[in-house]
Amino acid sequence: MYYGLTWAKIQEGMCLAIPVRIVSIDGDEAETEIAGVRRRVSIAFTPEAKLGDYVLLHTGYAIGVIDEAEAEETLKLLEEIASLSEVH
């Protein structure tokens, strides 16, 4: 409705959820940022979200907090797999 181009892209596909970073919190709303674009979102479903956390944003709501330790674990696993496959 009233967002810039990036938002047009982000809005594509209503099932989409994208990771955005929380830059400030105000009750059950938060200011978030992705690629330089800021947006106020509801954090009513993620009361545990803290400043600096990445949340999955879906149609204006944070639906989950990204687990950074798990994210790193997954990347480590992927790198391990890649290095093993290089040996062959």
Binding site: G13, M14, P19, Y61, E70, A82, S83
Partner: protein, 367 residues
């Protein structure tokens, strides 16, 4: 962008593809439930990257596509009522119903507005107290909590001109319906990542237990999907189907309790009408009696002509995984994103739109 770019690395993708090829001996059929997965799979050429033994089919996970024609007709009729503002997510507006579309209704003078969020729909209701604002609520478990939240907000703020037409649907019951029909033989399911952020991994447990079908929850970046396929292949090769999470940075086994609580407060489970599948018991969300005043299905009555399916369109088959989009005779020749015949070509999550955009090896962006 963090948590996106690092899961698109081509070297890591080749590593995974190699591992999958090493593992895979049996010829298997996997269904990616979610339209978002179908798009990523076609866009990154994942079908070509996995070994020939692994066949991928798209499933019913596009909320716009599975909305039954009769329900679309109802939404369009509601939009035409006097003093009504119909609000909905962008993809819905161009979907052809039996005789019209929301876009056509708008061209004919109906007030139809696209919103990004249910928050916007509530704001429109606040700003237009003399009108009835109806939100056409589509979506799976990912979206249902946001619709529940809008109803709760309207109640708290005493916004009496806000209504929801709930066409929301549930994922595990339709998986059950597909497996029960036995039309498509499946060995594994790429389970939807963002639905699972809400519901967690437990609701899929009946699938490996009762049907022997492997279930792995996947994120939406190409490496997430390859990792999911690798885990599915591993389970199937070992003959040990179970539910696994290949998207642990987003999905916890218990899901998001808070979101589910809101959803359960506002909705009760009922049947839903799915395009191409029909009525599936226990697969829809109805607004509970205590929130009846917000239920557009109860507050307004419209008379409808019998629904008519677009002639020659195979969306129903595509949704069930029984046909691929290029198998539809109208695909690309008559049906294009500019002049879509069926919803699967309209929606940004529809399989036909994905095939149109990325369906050939030359078109897929690859890594």
């Amino acid at each position: 962008m963090k948590f996106i770019d690092e899961y698109q690395d081509s070297k890591l993708a080749r590593g995974l593809a190699y591992k999958i090829a090493q593992r895979s001996t049996k010829t298997i059929s996997l269904m990616e439930f979610c339209g978002g997965h179908t798009h990523a799979i076609l866009r990154y050429g994942i079908r070509q990257l996995v070994p020939k033994t692994v066949e991928m089919r798209s499933g019913p996970g596009c909320p716009v596509c599975v909305t039954a024609t009769a329900d679309l007709d109802k939404a369009i009729a509601l939009a035409h009522l006097p003093d009504v503002i119909a609000t909905t997510f962008g993809d819905m507006i161009r979907v052809p119903g039996s005789y019209s579309s929301l876009q056509q209704a708008k061209a004919e003078g109906a007030d139809v507005r696209i919103v990004y969020s249910t928050i916007d729909a509530v704001e429109i209701a606040k700003a237009n107290p003399e009108k009835s604002v109806i939100f056409i609520g589509i979506g799976f478990e990912t979206t249902a909590p946001t619709i529940a939240a809008s109803i709760l907000k309207a109640q708290q703020e005493k916004i009496e001109n806000f209504y929801v037409l709930s066409l929301n649907k549930l994922t595990p019951p339709v998986m059950k319906a597909l497996l029960d029909s036995g039309e498509v033989k499946l060995d594994g399911i790429v389970c939807p990542g963002h639905v699972s952020v809400i519901i967690g991994s437990h609701p899929y447990e009946f699938i490996p237990r009762d049907y022997g079908v492997a279930c792995v929850i996947s994120g939406f970046e190409p490496l997430d999907i390859l990792l999911c396929i690798d885990k599915l292949v591993e389970q199937i090769e070992k003959g040990e189907p179970k539910v696994e999470i290949a998207y642990p940075r987003g999905v916890k086994p218990e899901g998001n309790r808070k979101a589910r609580q809101l959803m359960e407060d506002v909705f009760e489970i009922g049947e839903a009408n799915w395009r191409g599948i029909g009525i599936v018991p226990q697969s829809g969300l109805k607004i509970r009696g205590k929130y009846e005043q917000f239920d557009a299905g109860k507050a307004f009555s419209v008379s409808l002509k019998p629904p008519r399916e677009p002639k020659g369109c195979r969306c129903g088959d595509v949704i069930r995984g029984a046909a691929t989009s290029p198998e539809c005779k109208l695909f690309r020749k008559v049906c294009t994103p500019e002049r879509p015949v069926g919803p699967c070509m309209v929606s940004s999550e529809g399989a036909c739109a994905a095939y149109y955009q990325y369906g050939t090896l030359e078109n897929s962006q690859g890594f």
